[in-house]
């Protein structure tokens, strides 16, 4: 079959244009010298410079990164534990229900997740802020992590863990010394996924934040309501960069894990 046809080329171009044209325009205009967002007045990086001097923006960026690191770490720990129990725990009462419940937040509308977390946190915490956003983000990112990790665990040869027990490991040592190093790529890509999810979340953060914690997406949202500013373009470009790097690292590590797993399987097949 001929790979290249005009039909294929056209659909590919249209598809990518649909996906990336808005972002490309945003990136291009972030280098615009003019203050007007829609008029091109030559190349400049001055908006990046101004962004660096904008303390409010930098504060928001700092909050966002703190929230993303803390929540993705928490989500990774919880998600890995959940995946481990679901895959390794054997059969217990309500196992199907539990595993369904872990994956349900994947399809839950964000508004509902945000609202319910708000209703939960309101009476517990005297003040909401970064800590409540961390908890909220960890909650919804956890299920993404557990999906990624459990798909690796399903294909994990259980006799490796038995061998570890047989050679004198306690169950915890067997997890730490054998299971974790082998599933590490999946855990890392789960963390990166959780990190990027937290980085660009607006809805849930809006519900669970307090007066002192404003994340970047919230800052951008409120700034845009007062009119689009070229600084926002610059900021968005930087965020696209960070997210892209995260996604690329995650997919490379997933791919390497898959290759390694294939090598292991070939090794096992002898």
């Amino acid at each position: 079959m001929k790979r290249f046809t005009w039909f294929n080329a056209t659909s590919l171009t249209l598809g990518f244009a649909f996906l990336y044209l808005p972002m490309i325009i945003l990136v291009i205009y972030s280098f615009n010298a003019s203050k007007l967002v829609t008029v091109w007045a030559g190349f400049s990086t001055k908006w990046y410079g101004e962004l660096m001097r904008n303390d409010q923006m930098l504060d928001a960026a700092w909050v966002t990164i703190k929230v993303a690191v803390a929540s993705s770490t928490l989500a990774t720990i919880l998600g890995t534990m959940a995946a481990y129990v679901m895959v390794r725990g054997g059969r217990f009462m309500g196992r199907t229900l539990f595993s369904g419940m872990i994956f349900a937040p994947l399809v839950m509308p964000e508004v509902i997740t945000g609202l319910s977390l708000f209703l939960l946190f309101k009476p517990i915490f005297t003040q909401m802020g970064a800590h409540t956003i961390i908890l909220a983000h960890a909650t919804f990112a956890m299920c993404y992590v557990s999906v990624v990790v459990s798909s690796r665990l399903v294909s994990f040869d259980k006799s490796l863990e038995e061998a570890a027990l047989d050679l004198g490991c306690t169950p915890f040592e067997s997890f730490r010394l054998v299971t974790l190093p082998i599933i590490a790529p999946a855990v890392i890509s789960g963390w990166l996924l959780a990190f990027t999810l937290s980085l660009d979340d607006l809805v849930i953060a809006n519900f669970t934040t307090g007066p002192d914690a404003t994340t970047l997406p919230m800052k951008i949202w409120s700034a845009v309501r007062l009119g689009v500013n070229p600084q926002i373009n610059a900021l968005s470009t930087l965020m696209i960069g960070v997210v892209t790097i995260g996604v690329i690292i995650a997919s490379i590590s997933t791919k390497r894990a898959a290759l390694r797993q294939k090598a292991d399987e070939q090794a096992a097949a002898g």
Partner: protein, 375 residues
């Protein structure tokens, strides 16, 4: 010169290393092990042989501690193992998939169990080097498991499981993933290593040749029960049932009715108008009881003329010839449609062979060639 025969199971003063006492294992309504009692002695090479699903792997996993018996007791060196987790048993297992840790080098794989014992570093190094030498893997010690061949992985798995000097080594289909030639070589290596280390080996296999080659005793299992336990020659020559006779090697089973002729002699009437089969047996059968004659193909002679003075001789027709190079198997149809396999060594070249398809031949065998079985 007389060699001391290794047979602790015949010595009533010998204490068994492993004792299964009325062990039953059920998974829901499925009974994997059915009220099993068996002793295994120190330094034995004990083979559990049976088709898949007969419970042999379950028995091994109970010894390793990965399964617990539903009923009954398992004792190792006199100690009840019920409450002892796998990591605290002086038992190591070699897994069918080898279960080598892919993220560790071969050296670290072997050292893994020693590190858990909190052994001093110098001693670990010495022990690992010993194990590498024993399995001839010294030059590959820095490689990862996926960088060596299947046979080498098998040796690493063996080295790793022997490193902790277990009282008992369990081998789960250890040679299943190797090709035939390598498997045969490795069988002798295993026996050699077992003798050198003096460890008790329990091997699970469905390959009867493997069990016969390596084991001091073979237990033939079916449906969660041990049907017969004996030395390989006894299992082969004196099976206690049609199941065992059929499972081990090739056999002709001829059904008939028993008639006592002397103290240990029976005539088995197997077809109308045919001379009954004369056989000697230690089995005690009632007059007219249904009995099975189990006759190995290689114990049947095949000739053109009726051999003189043969105790048992039957005329038949060659239907099929299986040529295996060193031997040929003749499928001979007896009067009444009974098919019998007879084997002959090909001492002459093919062009000089006497028998061909459709030839009428005489099959003969001695009084003691066949086993008479009740079931």
């Amino acid at each position: 010169m007389t060699l001391d025969v290794f047979a602790p199971w015949e010595d009533p003063t010998e204490k068994p290393l492993i004792q299964f006492k009325g062990v039953t294992k059920r998974y829901g309504s499925f009974t994997a092990i059915d009220n099993l009692t068996q002793d295994i002695y120190a330094r034995e090479f004990f083979a559990l042989l049976g088709p898949s699903g007969c419970g042999k792997t379950t028995m091994m996993r109970m010894l390793a501690g990965f399964e617990t018996p539903t009923e009954g007791q398992i004792l190792i060196a006199g100690q009840d193992m019920a409450a002892v987790p796998p990591n605290e048993r002086a038992v190591n297992m070699m897994f069918q998939s080898y279960a080598l840790f892919p993220h560790l080098s071969i050296w670290d794989n072997i050292a893994f169990g020693l590190r858990r014992m909190k052994m001093p570093k110098a001693q670990i190094e010495e022990r690992v080097e010993d194990m590498l030498r024993l399995t001839r893997m010294t030059q590959f010690s820095r490689r990862k498991p996926h960088q060596v061949s299947g046979g080498q992985r098998q040796r690493v798995a063996l080295a790793r499981s022997l490193a902790r000097a277990p009282k008992l080594l369990l081998l789960d289909e250890p040679l299943g993933a190797l090709d035939k030639k390598l498997r045969e070589e490795t069988q002798f290596e295993l026996m050699d290593i077992q003798e050198k280390t003096g460890t008790t080996f329990v091997i699970v296999t469905h390959d009867q040749e493997e069990a016969m080659t390596v084991a001091s005793r073979v237990a033939v299992m079916d449906h969660g029960k041990i049907i017969q336990v004996s030395t390989p020659p006894k299992i082969y020559e004196e099976p206690n049932s049609v199941y065992v006779a059929d499972f081990i090697g090739d056999v002709n089973i001829i059904e008939g009715a028993a008639h006592k002729t002397s103290d240990d002699g029976y005539d088995i009437k197997w077809a109308e108008g045919q001379e009954p089969i004369h056989a000697k047996t230690t089995a005690v059968l009632n007059e007219g009881q249904k009995a099975f004659v189990a006759l190995r193909p290689e114990k049947i002679s095949i000739a053109e003329e009726k051999p003189e003075g043969a105790v048992n001789a039957v005329k038949g027709k060659i239907i099929d010839i299986g040529y295996l190079g060193n031997i040929s198997t003749y499928h001979v149809e007896l009067p009444g449609g009974v098919m019998v396999k007879a084997q002959a060594t090909n001492t002459r070249r093919l062009s000089r062979r006497n028998f061909s398809w459709e030839d009428e031949v005489w099959l003969s065998w001695t009084l003691t060639a066949a086993s008479v079985l009740e079931r």
